[in-house]
Amino acid sequence: MKYFRIIAIIIIFILVFIFLNKLLAPKYMEDLVEGSMTSAYYDEEKNHEVIFIGDCEVYANFSPLEMYQNEGIVSYVRGNSQQLIWQSYYLLKETLKYEIPKVVVFNVNSMRYDEPVSEAYNRLMIDNMKWSKEKVDLIEASMTDEENILYYIFPILRYHSRFAELKQEDFDYLFKTKKNTYNGFLINKNVKPAENLPTKRRLANYSFSDICYDYLNKIRDLCKENGITLVLIKAPSLYPYWYDEYEEQIVKYSAENAIPYYNFTKYVQEIGIDYSLDTYDGGLHLNLSGAEKMSKYFGKILKETFNLTDYRNDDNVSKLYEEKLKEYNKAKEA
């Protein structure tokens, strides 16, 4: 009886501890929804022929459902705010545990960053990722000097001060999630025309760091080992500036490794992007109308160049995507 009581107390202790960890961790469902991007993937059917990997330039600029509607492409965007290249690598590695796509599209913007930027962005990406070896490796690679892996394992250590700031969202989404993206695409319908930008500043060094090349090579090798075609892109944006020196290095890498590369900043007119209408933040990211144009343009290239399947002719997939499109169109009109 005494042992039974001790075991019961230990179990209650563990349950209360788990509950508090869950309660105090940010939910990212109503507020700061960018924190729900990583976990949204887990609820999806894992049958994608194309996976997009990268930072905010992919989740804002490429709409998989637009590509399905126009070309029958089944794709998913695994992108997060300020997703650094090592984070993209581990996220791709995790993705390949669930499915092997035909094509992986990687946005090269993050090649310019060679060290962790901030804990806040790490948290947005990592907090809701499922525990796996990839998550542990990702945390190790991403932590800033002030962070400790224990803060990720036990969110209560990091977020105990939230106790006084808990909102309704923390209770509403304690055991459930809300869909904020459409195959990883985050809709933003706001319009903020591109007007003035800061002066293009000289840099002390334009060369990408060895660490960035190492991870780009790892992405290349991971794709090769799994028979996946890797495609490099630079999503359209006016800022931060994509320097000619950056471009030269990617063009060289692409040629040396026989990897296709598309720099969409050069095709803005052809795509039909109008920066007075198609951006929500003055030229950094495309809004919904810009993403639709971009997706239409790139969808055609993907379909024709990489011989992708038209899933609109597949009964099972088309049934699922009809439902997805209904929700997507509803969100577009809301």
Partner: protein
């Protein structure tokens, strides 16, 4: 009885959390005692000396509040949002330099950096874009931090950055040391 057990469990959790956090903070990477001392020394240094730039008698101080009343009407203005978080980095472009600000408390803006746009202006110590590396060393000494073409002179929480290419200064910027702040 059950209520009592639950209260004890909660207290134990609070103690465990406190103990682990104390271990991370005090026993981990940082010693608070030392970092407090460091920051005190730094604070004192910061109060003593910070980089500032004077343009036509107007002193522009890094990390201090920016107001148009004080610095005048800009030629052009741009604002850059972060990917997910609130707040904007605002850039005010004047004829010869650009001031970038960051959001501070009470919706105020503080000066993050001053970036020289041309060779017609000089630092308070008389160095301009187009001058040589030797002139920079003559004015500021050779006690700089160097990475690639970047030469940095530190004062408190502020930095004065020169980019030198082929022995010629091609960029001058005063900025807040964002890693320290």
């Amino acid at each position: 009885m059950n209520k009592k057990v639950l209260i004890i469990i909660l207290l134990v959790i609070v103690l465990v959390v406190g103990a682990i956090e104390a271990y991370i903070v005090f026993g981990g990477k940082k010693s608070t005692k030392n970092s407090n001392q460091d920051s005190k020394v730094q604070d004192e240094a910061s109060q003593e000396e910070e980089w500032s730039y004077t343009y036509e008698g107007m002193k522009i101080e890094i990390g201090k509040e920016f107001t148009k009343e004080k610095y005048g009407e800009e030629i052009s203005y741009s604002e850059i949002a972060s990917c997910a978080f609130d707040g904007l980095d605002k850039t005010y472009t004047y004829e010869h330099y650009e001031i970038t600000t960051y959001p501070a408390e009470n919706e105020k803006e503080n000066i993050l950096s001053i970036y020289f746009l041309d060779e017609t202006i000089a630092t308070d110590e008389g160095v301009s874009i187009g001058d040589s590396y030797d002139k920079m060393v003559e004015a500021y000494s050779d006690s700089y931090e160097n990475h690639d073409n970047l030469y940095t002179y530190r004062k408190g929480d502020t930095l004065l950055n020169f980019i030198v290419e082929n022995d010629t200064i091609t960029s001058i910027e005063y900025t807040l040391d964002v890693e320290q702040n």
